[in-house]
């Protein structure tokens, strides 16, 4: 099931409390970590909480989520594949 990347970006901004950033400013393919937004390992954990809260996906090992956190698109694909139907 496809998920809206716009909605996903809004959820990311809300869960990470990103300031002065709109969903439009986040490139779907750009790396989320390491550059640009300046996110770190604790932000990754906030994304884990977001995945459970907004999409019902439980991650117990951060390594599981690591490939998904590469970009908005990889995260959207991960959610589409894992989301409980």
């Amino acid at each position: 099931m496809q998920i809206s990347t716009h909605e996903l970006k809004s959820n990311i901004i809300e869960s990470l409390k990103l300031q002065d950033i709109t969903p439009e400013q986040i490139d779907d393919d750009a790396p989320l970590f390491g550059t640009g937004l300046g996110l770190d390992s604790i932000d990754a954990l906030e994304l884990v909480v977001m995945l459970e809260k907004d999409y019902g996906i439980v991650i117990k090992d951060i390594e599981e989520g690591r490939p998904a956190f590469r970009s908005v698109n990889t995260l959207a694909e991960f959610i589409a594949a894992k989301r409980p139907q």
Partner: protein
């Protein structure tokens, strides 16, 4: 005191057999993680003799102190002034305060009693009162390295002549906050920790306490003490890298180990065993292994982590592992590393697998904590004669001061969410200097961290050529973030935790952020000592300059108000027309006087201790007059605050000092300006510096804590 038993004998039985004390949690309901293994102490602590009016951490610390005193066959009946205590605590009374929050959230009832022992320092105060210690008493909270730093500080206090004997170590209990917090960071191994193993999946939380009796050679000889071991070296550093992740190459860990070796005057080859921090998390164990290989030039001595035996008892772990090191030396045995079975290629080292006999002369103990905070201790056989230098007597100058809040404060009316209504607060309001913070600092740092960061920058421009130590104390830490984190945890039954708030809950989170901001890689500490928190930070910072471990020391104190503090204080009648709650931060940049061309003032004396009850003003005045030159002083600046009993104590001492000086010393106060909070004497210090600059005469800053601590600080032109 550990999950694997109480008392040295029981603990060593567990260590030597490598048996794990981890069991499923019973202490409180954990809807989400209840079956996960933990190092909980499952017994009735009061039945063992612990005081009823105390927090769980207090009970653990108190029981360990009682055992240490009995074991050392020492009593403090006479000469309690020459005996002090420094403990590392991080969780403090959180476990008990969470009972208050839980009752409030789940049942809507406000029962504030369990919060009475919330502060980390209560453990120290209870022990000092019970066993008659009147020397310096301090608690410091640098997360999982707390008790290693505490033991090092106790040693410095003895070397500098402040005391002959120090009780030192640490105590931390299990709490919902740390339990939920480490789970929210996905750092807990559900099968129990397996340090250094290829398949390790994280840490196991534990609780416990360990106390050592540390004394000078002369004191031990005088009383014919049986010496178990010598503390021959210690080192502290900060990664200045990240709030929770260790530096990937273990740079800070390396620096701390090297500093400890330097202090002990030992080559790396002299170390026969290392008790590793070895939490079992992927990142710690790799970073620590890299650091070990660097320090020991790829010839790493036998090492092991004993975390699976006790669980990770956070602030207490450094002291518990120090005890393991002392006992290993005594028995000449290498403790094993339960949980290890397969070597991790990323680590490339194998710990000690089974207990074995080995000649041990010098052993090292590593403790690393949140905020990139590292503490390393070296213990040696009694027959060795380590060359530990005393801190030098040096002139200390103030290079700069940063102040937020009280000076420019507006008294604000703050609504309370609890039944007790509204209160007036000396609030810092919106941090107008927040513009100097980066967007990430603004979104992630608590108010308290932001205040510390801004005041540190006001006091000192980052200078990468300097070795900078940081000691910024706090009485209560980031109340708002800690409170919000626990509130959320309890009300949502551990669902949707707040991983970015949890790291802010440790008292050294402001200092850790200051370290990152200032690239300050020297010792990093957060004393938490009630009303004398600032003076304790001052002592510790100056010590780093006097031992030449730092070129600059950023010392200070910070506290914030939150809704619970206001409501509980109101319920207890702590606030009134004269005593209003306050908040704020002050950071002072210090260096050796010859290093600062135009200093604001000099700090000539800082001394800590405890007063006797009933309070005797003449005795206090004698103590002060024996330390400072009253002829150089015009003003006694006290922490009087409108509380009759305390104010009378200050007034009587000021009068007794005038009598000894043969002229009237002016008694001034500062809390009418800044309000009442633990860090307020830091604001008093800034007032003292201003007075000294105006009058070109000395000011005595005199502070009493309500639980028995006292401090004097002399500021002169």
């Amino acid at each position: 005191m550990s999950a694997s038993g109480f008392g040295m004998e029981a603990v060593w039985r567990a260590v030597s057999s490598g048996s794990s004390g981890l069991k499923p949690l019973t202490l409180f309901q954990s809807p989400r993680y209840g079956q996960i293994l933990t190092g909980e102490i499952q017994c009735d602590l009061i039945a063992l003799g612990a005081p009823t009016r105390s927090s769980r951490s207090d009970k653990l610390g108190w029981l360990a102190a009682r055992e240490a005193i009995a074991h050392a066959k020492i009593n403090f009946q006479s000469g309690g002034e020459r005996a002090g205590i420094v403990l590392g605590t991080s969780v403090g009374g959180s476990y008990d305060s969470e009972i208050f929050l839980s009752t409030l959230i789940k049942r809507g009832k406000m029962r504030a009693r369990p919060t009475r022992f919330h502060e980390c320092v209560t453990t120290v105060d209870l022990i000092a009162d019970e066993f008659g210690l009147f020397g310096p008493s301090m608690a410091l909270a640098t997360a999982c390295s707390s008790s290693a730093l505490a033991i090092a500080l106790a040693a410095e206090m003895i070397l500098s002549g402040e005391a002959d004997v120090m009780l030192t170590g640490g105590a931390d209990s299990m709490s919902r906050m740390t339990w939920g917090g480490f789970h929210s960071l996905l750092l807990v191994d559900s099968a129990g920790c397996r340090p250094f193993d290829a398949t390790r999946g994280g840490m196991s939380l534990g609780e416990g306490a360990a106390v050592l009796v540390l004394e000078s050679e002369a004191s031990a000889q005088r009383r014919g003490a049986k010496i178990l071991a010598r503390l021959s070296g210690w080192g502290a550093s900060c990664d200045a890298y990240h709030a929770t992740s260790p530096h990937p190459q273990g740079a800070g860990a390396t620096a701390a180990m090297q500093s400890a070796l330097r202090r002990a005057g030992l080559e790396p080859t002299a170390i026969d065993y290392v008790n590793a921090h070895g939490t079992g998390t992927r990142d710690n164990d790799v970073a620590e292994a890299i650091a070990l290989k660097t320090v020991f030039h790829n010839r790493v001595p036998p090492f092991s982590s004993t975390k699976r035996i006790f669980g990770h008892a956070l602030a207490a772990s450094g002291a518990m592992e120090a005890v393991v090191c002392v006992e290993a030396l005594r028995r000449q045995e290498l403790p094993p590393n339960p949980g290890f079975s397969k070597c991790d290629p990323a680590i490339g080292l194998e710990p000690v697998i089974e207990l074995r006999h080995a000649p041990l002369t010098h052993v090292m103990s590593n403790s690393f904590g949140f905020g990139g905070n590292n503490g390393v201790l070296i213990f040696s056989k009694p027959e060795t004669s380590p060359q530990t230098r005393a801190p030098e007597k040096i002139q200390i100058a103030v290079g700069g001061i940063g102040v937020i809040g009280p000076g420019a404060v507006t008294i604000k009316e703050i609504g309370s969410p609890l039944p007790s209504g509204k209160g007036l607060v000396h609030s810092c309001g919106v941090l107008t200097d927040a513009a100097m913070l980066t967007p990430n600092q603004r979104r992630r740092l608590s108010r308290l961290q932001q205040m510390a960061l801004i005041t540190a920058r006001q006091s000192h421009a980052p200078d990468p050529s300097q070795r900078v130590a940081v000691a910024i104390g706090t009485g209560l830490g980031c109340l708002e973030d800690a409170g919000t984190f626990i509130e959320n945890l309890i009300s949502k039954d551990e669902r949707e935790p707040m991983p970015s708030r949890f790291p802010n809950s440790v008292h050294n989170s402001p200092t850790g952020q200051v370290a990152i901001d200032q690239a300050a890689r020297g010792m990093n500490s957060a004393p938490t000592v009630g009303e004398i928190t600032f003076e304790s930070a001052l002592w510790q910072g100056i010590c780093q300059l006097a031992t030449d471990e730092a070129d600059c020391a950023l010392v200070g104190a910070a506290d914030e108000v939150d809704k619970y503090l206001l409501s509980i204080g109101q319920r207890w009648g702590a606030w009134n027309e004269k005593i209003k709650p306050g908040e704020g931060a002050v950071v002072v940049s210090l260096a050796r006087a010859e290093k600062i061309s135009s200093p604001l003032a000099r700090v000539t004396i800082v001394r800590l201790g405890r007063y006797r009850k009933p309070f005797d003003a003449e005795r206090e005045a004698d103590w002060i007059a024996s330390i400072i030159d009253l002829a150089a002083i015009d003003v006694v600046l006290s922490g009087a605050k409108g509380f009759l009993k305390l104010d009378a104590m200050y007034e009587a001492v000021a009068a007794a000092l005038s009598k000894r000086a043969g002229r009237k010393l002016e008694h001034q106060t500062y809390k009418q300006q800044c309000g009442e909070f633990h860090a307020a004497s830091a604001f008093g210090f800034s007032v003292a510096v201003n007075l000294v600059r105006q009058r070109r005469r000395g000011v005595l800053l005199y502070t009493l804590s309500q639980r028995g601590g006292k401090a004097i600080c002399c500021v002169q032109p």
